[in-house]
Amino acid sequence: MAIGDDQVATLRAHLAGEFEEYERRWEQLDKEAARTEYTALVAAAFFEAVDRRFAKDGTVADVIDFVGDVRSRSEELSDAIDPRIAERLIRHALGDGSIGDIGDETMGSTQMLLLVALIADEQLDDAGLDEFMTEVRAVADEWTE
């Protein structure tokens, strides 16, 4: 099943910080379709964002520093993000370690928060964000086939 435009637009609005747009689009999504397609789109986006940030010369220290920085941005984030799980998810995306023991909800929420933080740190403009979403969509289409 191919990833729909509405799902891509919803995630883009979320990553762009357009939370009103995101809320509006989220309400319009098919929740059953979102269970498979939107989760795939988020996982693919997380993988691409981690690859852009740490694949070249990222180290464990960089991962730790990043997670700590994200958790320090607000108390809610500090409570919502388990640093060990966050580090494991990032390192797993880089080909290190395993995440089989992490719960689904925890994995989904943590991936989403880390993704937003990674994109926010990238400071992508609209074109860059569109390009990023295009790549992510292709990966998600591959995963959901």
């Binding site: 269970r35 925890t106 994995m107 989904g108 989403m112």
Partner: protein
């Protein structure tokens, strides 16, 4: 009278305190009644003719000894003897100084013309006192050599035998002087001068030197010269009444030997040997070196007294805490390493977790990692979806502020219609009052001026 009176020394001391005898000037040895050095030596050489005078020997060297033997309060007798000897030296053989003849005439009764410096020391009382004082000093220095220098002691004993043979039984007076000197430490320094006491040329030289070192070397001479021979094997004299029973061990003596030479360790100080005189140095040098060595060997021996070298290997018990072996020694037993290897940092958990290492393996291409992510990181479940949705509000905090200079303020552009007139300052009451007063003054002056002009015109008319 003065010879037999034990208090004569004090009397002499008091007299000398009044008279304050001056030492002969070096350039004028015979001036003002002071005997020249040659005269003193000649008198000393003539002294043995009177017979064995063992008690004279301490007298010759007693003055410097007692002066350096100890504190002034304890050394009254020694000081008196020192003063006495000084007075002896001050007396010229030909009696050029009548002022000094009166007190000394009593002393010269026994010897007549015996004006040698040692003639005065035939008095058993003064030397006895000084010897007792010196004996205490020698006692403190006894263990230094006695502990670890048996050879030295043997040599000292031999020298003491020679000295005793030359002395004779006249040493009887004075208990302290009677005490054997087992250590033999002062012996080497004292025996040589005692043997050469009759022709003691160094007495005057030592006194002429006047240095504290020369005085310090004397105590040992006085004591040991009068000590009867005692077998050296018994380093600690067990006889009752002996001061050696109260001797302090090496711990107390060793620092004393390294203390100021003015103290009782002067006899053990090798630096004092050259000042003791020409004849004494020959006998003291062989013993002075072992003396210093003895002190060092004492310290070396102390290092070995802790534990035998092979004792470490003989321990059969183990130190355990909570049934775990304690690391008691540098030598570790690898077999028991697990018993005490619960320390933090012994093992590196995982080489891959080391900080600074690159996470991504070169062999892992992006496609393989992506596929791995698909298999484990992507789960099409409602829980994942709910989790993504749940953090939507929290992700708002991750929104970074727009880029730009944070100090730059964006102000709305000013248009002509929105131009605001400047503020006008209101009228100040104080300024108004001031202006009114100034105006009133000016007006008054003007009126006065104008009025004056008008009167002038009327007056002209």
């Amino acid at each position: 009278v003065a010879v037999d009176n034990p208090n004569s020394a004090e009397a002499v001391e008091g007299r000398d305190a009044v008279e304050t005898p001056q030492p002969p000037p070096p350039d004028r040895p015979g001036a003002e009644g002071f005997p020249s050095r040659a005269e003193s030596r000649a008198a000393a050489a003539a002294a043995p003719d009177d017979g064995p005078r063992p008690s004279d020997e301490p007298g010759d060297d007693t003055p410097p000894d007692t002066s350096s033997a100890g504190p002034a309060d304890d050394d009254r007798g020694g000081q008196a003897a020192a003063d006495t000897s000084d007075s002896e030296h001050d007396r010229s053989p030909d009696g050029q100084e009548p002022r000094r003849e009166e007190p000394e005439g009593t002393r010269t009764d026994d010897g007549g013309t015996d004006q040698s410096p040692s003639s005065e020391q035939n008095t058993p009382d003064a030397p006895g006192e000084t010897e007792s004082e010196d004996l205490d000093l020698s006692e403190t220095s006894v263990p230094i050599e006695a502990a670890d220098q048996p050879d030295l002691q043997q040599e000292d004993v031999r020298q003491e035998e020679i000295a005793d043979s030359a002395r004779g039984p006249a040493d009887a007076p004075g208990e302290a002087a009677e005490e054997p000197h087992p250590d033999g430490d002062p012996g080497p320094e004292t025996v040589a001068p005692s043997a050469d006491e009759s022709a003691d040329p160094h007495t005057d030289s030592a006194q002429a030197a006047g240095g504290p070192e020369a005085v310090d070397s004397a105590p040992g001479q006085v004591v040991v010269a009068d000590q009867p021979y005692e077998p050296p094997d018994d380093l600690h004299d067990p006889r009752p009444g002996s001061h050696l029973e109260e001797e302090q061990p090496v711990d107390d003596v060793l620092p004393v030997a390294e203390a100021e030479p003015v103290d009782e360790s002067a006899a053990a100080d090798p630096d004092t040997i050259p000042h003791s005189g020409d004849g004494s140095t020959e006998g003291t040098e062989p013993t002075a070196e072992p003396l210093a060595d003895g002190i060092e060997s004492e310290g070396e021996g102390g290092t070995h007294t802790g534990e035998p070298s092979g004792e470490d290997d003989d321990w059969d018990f183990d130190f355990t805490v909570n049934e775990k072996y304690v690391r008691a020694r540098a030598g570790l037993n690898p077999v028991r390493a697990e018993d005490w290897s619960n320390e933090v940092g012994d093992q590196i958990p995982d080489p891959a977790e080391r900080k600074g290492d690159r996470i991504v393996n070169e062999t892992d291409d992006k496609a393989s990692r992506r596929e791995r992510m698909r298999r484990e990181g992507y789960k099409a479940t409602g829980e994942v979806r709910d989790g993504i949705r749940k953090v939507a509000d929290q992700s708002k905090a991750l929104k970074r502020p727009p880029t730009g200079n944070p100090e730059t303020r964006i102000c709305p552009p000013a248009t002509g219609s929105e131009a605001r007139a400047g503020d006008h300052q209101g009228l100040d009451v104080g300024n108004a009052v001031t202006a009114g007063l100034a105006a009133g003054v000016l007006i008054g002056e003007l009126i006065h001026f104008v009025g004056g002009k008008l009167e002038n015109r009327k007056g002209r008319r």
